[in-house]
Symmetry: C2
Subunit: 367 residues, 2 copies
């Protein structure tokens, strides 16, 4: 392989123990439960380990202890910004403790998820983070039978496998539509892509809110199974507009689509919000910076990942949370794109950068 072959710089636990003048078992305990040692031995082992640069062999530990210190994470996409925030939270929370993250991408396929789950479970993970609540029956059964704590993330539902953290996409969508009603909008379109279960529930929320107001029409809904993108937002909006020229607002299932809609409006010289209001979903960073600034539903993605991993680790360590289901909520961040029609839609020419920055500094979404 062209690479040097080291003798595998093996410093074993036994060597540490020898240098410290204790038995290997005592040394082992030092790494797993230092409080169980007398102070004298603890310091002896500690300095011996440091002196030798000892690093435990995880494979041996896993084999002997019949469990790993791996947290399996199943997410449906690596591309979606939403998941990169969640992941960052998970990785941040797992830092500094002994657990390591094993990530797998289900690509929005519950069959793939089932396969990966089987793989994970076979290695006896310390814990599992899975996305959503729509598993196959088989997956569900495996999760129920799993001998480790499990957190379902991204949304909440009535029947948690174990723990659960997220928010109601249905309620969030209803709130977004209610906001548009408040702004005097009536003919509100829905634009959605990928149509995974969570987007579907956003659609359901939109439909129910529209029906409650007796404003629902099927032609107001444009969706596709295609993965989301900014460009796609523009294309779907074009479709929507062709079907319903009297449109006065669009609720987009995510922010990329919303940005695409905004660009398409600009292309067609449709005033935002004067002619059409736009509301996105997730409140990605650019929403506060667009012109006009774009209203969105803020979701606490980083916090979700971080809390999920923290809860999971606590549970692994035997400290189960008092509250296994956590609703992180959401927050409508009202910006220019959904202001009432007669308000001025464009900010003063200069100093607008400051305006955008001010939007970013709005009260954070931890509701």
């Amino acid at each position: 392989m062209g690479r040097k072959r080291t003798k595998s710089g093996k410093i074993r636990l036994a060597e540490v123990a020898e240098l410290a003048g204790v038995s290997p078992i005592t040394a082992s305990r030092f790494f797993r439960n230092p409080e169980a040692l007398s102070l004298a031995k603890r310091t002896r082992v500690e300095s011996a380990a440091k002196e030798l640069g000892y690093v435990p062999n995880l494979a041996a530990r896993a084999l002997a202890s019949q469990r790993t210190e791996v947290i399996g994470v199943l997410i449906p996409s690596l591309t979606n910004n939403v998941f990169s925030d969640v992941l960052r939270g998970i990785y941040d929370a797992s830092e500094g403790n002994r657990y390591s993250i094993q990530l797998s991408n289900t690509r929005y396929s519950i069959l793939q998820e089932e396969k990966l789950l089987r793989l994970f479970l076979a290695q006896k993970p310390a814990g599992l983070i899975v996305t959503g609540i729509d598993q196959t029956a088989e997956s569900r059964a495996m999760l129920e039978a799993a001998d480790c704590p499990i957190v379902q993330i991204m949304e909440i539902g009535p029947d948690p496998v174990d723990m659960m953290i997220g928010f109601s996409h249905y309620d969030a969508a209803r709130a977004a539509v209610a906001h548009l009603f408040d702004q005097g909008r009536r003919r509100i379109g829905f634009v959605g892509a990928r149509m995974d279960p969570r987007v579907q529930r956003r659609l359901d929320g939109y439909v129910s809110a529209m029906k409650d107001a007796a404003l629902f029409e099927q032609r107001l809904v444009v969706t596709t199974a295609t993965p989301t993108s900014v460009t796609l937002g523009g294309a779907l909006f074009a479709d929507l507009l062709a079907r319903e020229p009297g449109l006065d607002a669009v609720f987009c299932a995510n922010d990329d689509l919303a940005l695409g809609v905004l660009f398409e409006c600009r292309r067609r010289e449709i005033g935002v919000p004067d002619q059409i209001a736009i509301v996105g979903f997730n409140d990605l960073e650019f929403m506060a910076s667009a012109v006009p600034t774009l209203t969105s539903v803020r979701t606490n993605r980083y916090e979700m990942g971080k809390t999920a991993a923290t809860m999971l680790i606590e549970a692994i360590d035997g400290r189960r949370p008092e509250q296994p289901v956590l609703d992180l909520g959401f927050k409508i961040i009202e910006r220019q794109s959904s202001m009432p029609r007669h308000s001025e839609s464009r900010p003063a020419a200069s100093g607008a950068g400051a305006t955008a920055n001010k939007m970013v500094a709005l009260p954070s979404g931890h509701d």
Copy 2:
């Protein structure tokens, strides 16, 4: 933990061997090197394994064989879109074979990188993917001494540790500036954030191109160590404009900044490209969809990740690539934002969505 405790559904290799009527070693070989078995035994072991639902115990395998089937990946950011594309490539390439990805986030700190490297190396990974060429001396030494193939990604340099795949950020930046020269621009500003080594090399490329044309001035450069964002792009551009009102183009170190600049121009009613041309870097999806569409330097991020992982796995399996350093190149994707001044800057009102889509379908950047 409130979870059922299974008896740990252990089907050992020995049981498979017994059912198949062979020795455990033969069964073991079946999973590692099936060609070494006679066809009869191979099928016997195969069906026995399937019948019992055998899943190998990776910990035991790692312990006995003194090596893992883990590929360590060190990247500086989980937030940055650029890395999510690279990661996706890496994960895609690692699918279907027996290697699993272990990801760690250095957060743009080479000290953190060194720490993580030490951690990884202690577990004897099968291979390593590290970002960039700017390691600490200590890290470099560890990499040199490592007993596994290593791929450095994201850029190429003169002194690979082992394998290397990327492109020259310096050349790419020079090409971007040359493109702006071609379009008749002279007072070209540079906007950069985070200023990690690769952004720094883009700046170096910009500076050298500007100096070659005797057009360089320090005040044309605005940078910050702050992490990048769309909003930040607007703010940095505002700074730049205050320093140099005669500006006629901006080269942005990434696309988020470029989008921020575009929005800021819109806010200030500065025509793009009539007054100011904008060029971004990476060619994220939204660049083709913005209004006007935004010129960018296309980089082959997904391919980079995928190829890196593929090369690495091949090398692990003993098939080292003939060419250990791979330059994936880049490509200037010329769009409206950098058209010459006198051309019409806005497309026809309708059908522009199609235009944007056409841009997306341009010949791919495999130079």
